[in-house]
């Protein structure tokens, strides 16, 4: 492990360039944030009548990703599929950072986030936002516990084999439990499984409630109904697979490490499930478009996608880049066992999903409000883009550092 860390901390040019890039994104984010604090929160909204835009859609994207990663890793630790057990640590860690940065995004958009304690002092159980916050609180707690149990033995090993400050820091992370024995590791896995079950339960509940935030909104015809609570779960699952494939292939490439045959087999297996889910997702979208087209209240919004303000992002970003090309690319990559292809397809699907969230959040707010007014351009504001750039910068920075300093390696059972 020590050698491993030393090997990983070897500084290369690419590492410096990558870190500078992330720092630049962070600076942009800080600038956007400072504007929202010192000028007005208004800078994070491109139109006063459309208060939920990129901050909300990015939040949705990130928490969807987190739930998805929790679902994918649960296949190993909760449902006991041995091959998925390999990716537990990396997956759960990614689930933690995506939810933490997702929560940061929504917090920055709230007028008074410090008043969130009223959610618990004077709860409103009929509010989907309340339900989501309630379930996500437990979800965050449980995935953190799950990761700790998955990583404790490795952290203890590092603490036991190092000296000085390093020993102190890693020792602190183990909370003083430095037993590396086989029995202790088995016990850890047992607790990790329990935490994993609780996290999956809380995550799925939180996630369908997130869909219900939109689904409950009767006065927003495009969002209203049972479709989104269900579709969110599906899209979470395929985004989980996409994140996992992309993270594994990119990290192994950049670290110049060879994947074990087991891991390679798993990535291909994930690719197979991923493509099936993408196809199912496409059918869901098709259903949404066709049923919406013939629905008197939803038709206008659907026309925004088919032939209106949102048609370009819908055809190019959501359909081509986010769905059709990834499906073809995954099928091609699977036939050739081409990892790079799988990685590109996953990233494309995630990019598509990111914009799909934006179109869904913004598109859903246009009607009935703009029934008698011209529909405004739907570009996000510059400061919104800056803050979101900062959020992603922070997310990738934490992951990069974690790859170097935390045990994310694929475990062997």
């Amino acid at each position: 492990m020590l050698n491993n860390i030393l090997y990983k901390t070897e500084r290369s040019h690419f590492f410096y360039i990558w870190m500078s890039f992330l720092a630049a994104l962070g600076l942009l984010g800080a600038y956007g944030l400072a504007s929202s604090f010192f000028l007005s929160l208004e800078v994070l909204e491109f139109h006063v009548d459309i208060p939920w835009a990129m901050m909300i859609s990015t939040y949705v994207f990130l928490v969807v990703s987190s739930t998805g990663l929790c679902i994918v890793t649960s296949l190993g630790h909760v449902f006991g599929r041995r091959d998925y057990g390999l990716i537990g640590r990396r997956g759960v860690f990614l689930a933690i950072i995506t939810i933490v940065f997702g929560m940061t995004t929504i917090t920055l958009h709230l007028g008074h986030p410090e008043r969130s304690f009223f959610f618990y002092l004077t709860p409103n159980v009929t509010s989907a936002i309340w339900g989501m916050s309630f379930f996500y609180t437990f979800y965050i707690l449980f995935i953190m516990i799950e990761y700790w149990f998955l990583a404790r033995a490795e952290l203890a090993r590092t603490a036991n084999t190092s000296t000085g400050w390093k020993q102190a820091i890693y020792g602190l992370m183990t909370l003083g439990l430095r037993d590396e024995s086989r029995e202790a590791v088995e016990k850890d896995h047992k607790f990790a499984r329990r935490a994993g079950i609780a996290a999956l339960f809380a995550g799925l509940s939180a996630h369908s409630t997130l869909g219900a935030i939109f689904g409950h909104s009767e006065s927003m015809p495009y969002w209203y109904g049972a479709y989104y609570p269900i579709y969110f779960l599906l899209s979470a699952t395929f985004s989980g697979f996409a994140w996992m494939i992309a993270a594994l292939v990119i990290t192994y490439r950049l670290e110049r490490k060879e994947m074990s045959p087991e891991l390679k087999r798993l990535v291909l297996e994930m690719g197979r499930v991923f493509v099936i889910l993408l196809v199912v997702g496409m059918l869901f979208t098709l259903y949404k478009i066709i049923s919406g087209f013939f629905h008197p209240a939803k038709a206008k919004t659907v026309m925004l996608f088919l032939d209106g303000r949102l048609s370009l992002p819908f055809y190019i970003l959501e359909t081509a880049i986010g769905t059709v090309i990834p499906i073809l690319l995954v099928l091609y990559s699977l036939s050739r066992e081409w990892m790079t292809g799988l990685m590109i397809a996953s990233i494309m699907a995630l990019v598509g999903l990111f914009f799909m969230r934006y179109d869904f959040v913004v598109g859903g707010q246009i009607y009935p409000l703009f029934n008698n007014k011209p529909v405004p351009p739907v570009f996000p504001s510059l400061m919104e883009v800056f803050v979101i750039a900062g959020i992603f910068g922070g997310l990738f920075l934490v992951y990069t550092l974690a790859v170097k300093f935390l045990p994310l390696d694929e475990e062997s059972h």
């Binding site: 008074h112 959610f119 936002i129 599906l234 707010q365």
Partner: protein, 275 residues
């Protein structure tokens, strides 16, 4: 009917008794009808002087908006403009112009209060739907839930604000806007009385009463010469918006979906992968 031993007369009698029991038994609803107040807007009388707007600002200490001028330019609601008066054209008759006094409709079962995660919005027994600004986290979910898109975010206070029906004046003193109206286009009183007045006016002009059934009934009643959609106003469904039972239905579909997904994961995990 004869076979079951119940005659048609007995059956109908039973039905009437049951409905009476339900009506009499619903004491809460009866109480609410007596204690509730409403604001009545007669758009046929409004001259568009916008004194109601300035009175609202004075009483509630709201700052002036940039777009707010004594012209017929469209003014929009905001965190510090809780009532607007806009000139609307009847799309069926272009010559017909009407000033519309527009503010929170104070729904009987407000969708905004139902979705506020911090329970910062409350429907008072007297009728006003009030946002507790000290509890508001500023998530804007109330805005999304409101069928009329009334609750607006105040970017300075970083909280959602809207018309409070001057809950700090009523019922002893009329709301500031009503008190300021020079032509008695605005009226305030018990909802039952206001409803009777409004219906008589609507009947006289063969117009439309906004607020009797919209969103399940609201405590702001507006007498219009024509249907709200003809004037370009937002139309709310004639039923309670965001009913709890409807929320349960939608949430349940999500939980059912989650259960199906968990089942699918279980089956997939069992299907292979060298367990």
């Amino acid at each position: 009917m004869a076979d079951s031993g119940v005659t048609r007369r007995q059956f109908l009698g039973g039905l009437a008794a049951a409905s009476a029991a339900v009506t009499i038994g619903d004491v809460d609803a009866a109480d609410a009808a007596v204690t509730r107040y409403a604001k009545l807007v007669d758009t046929t009388k409004c001259i568009g002087c916008k004194r109601c707007m300035s009175a609202c600002k004075r009483w509630n200490k709201l700052k002036l908006d940039r777009s707010e001028e004594l012209t017929d330019r469209e003014t929009t609601l905001s965190g510090h403009t809780w009532v607007v008066v806009n000139l609307k054209r009847d799309i069926r008759n272009n010559e017909d112009l009407t000033y519309i006094h527009w503010a929170c409709q104070h729904c009987d079962r407000p969708a905004c209060a139902g979705v506020c995660p911090a329970s910062a919005i409350e429907k008072y027994p007297e009728g006003p739907v009030v946002v507790n600004e000290k509890k508001c986290v500023g998530c804007r979910y109330c805005y999304q839930a409101c069928p009329y898109k009334i609750p607006r975010f105040d970017f300075e206070k970083r909280a959602t604000r809207k018309c409070t029906m001057c809950y700090d004046r009523i019922p002893k003193i009329k709301p500031a806007c009503v008190a300021a109206c020079p032509v008695q286009a605005l009226d305030f009183g018990r909802r039952t009385d206001m409803l009777i007045k409004a219906k008589l006016k609507v009947e006289a002009i063969n117009g439309y009463l906004l607020g009797e059934h919209e969103a399940g009934g609201t405590d702001m009643l507006t007498v219009l010469k024509t249907r709200p959609e003809d004037l370009g106003l937002t139309v709310a469904p004639k039923k309670i918006v965001n009913q709890p039972s409807d929320k349960v239905r939608i949430s349940f579909s999500g939980f059912a979906g989650a259960a199906v997904l968990a089942g699918a994961l279980y089956l997939y995990a069992r299907s292979g992968g060298d367990r």
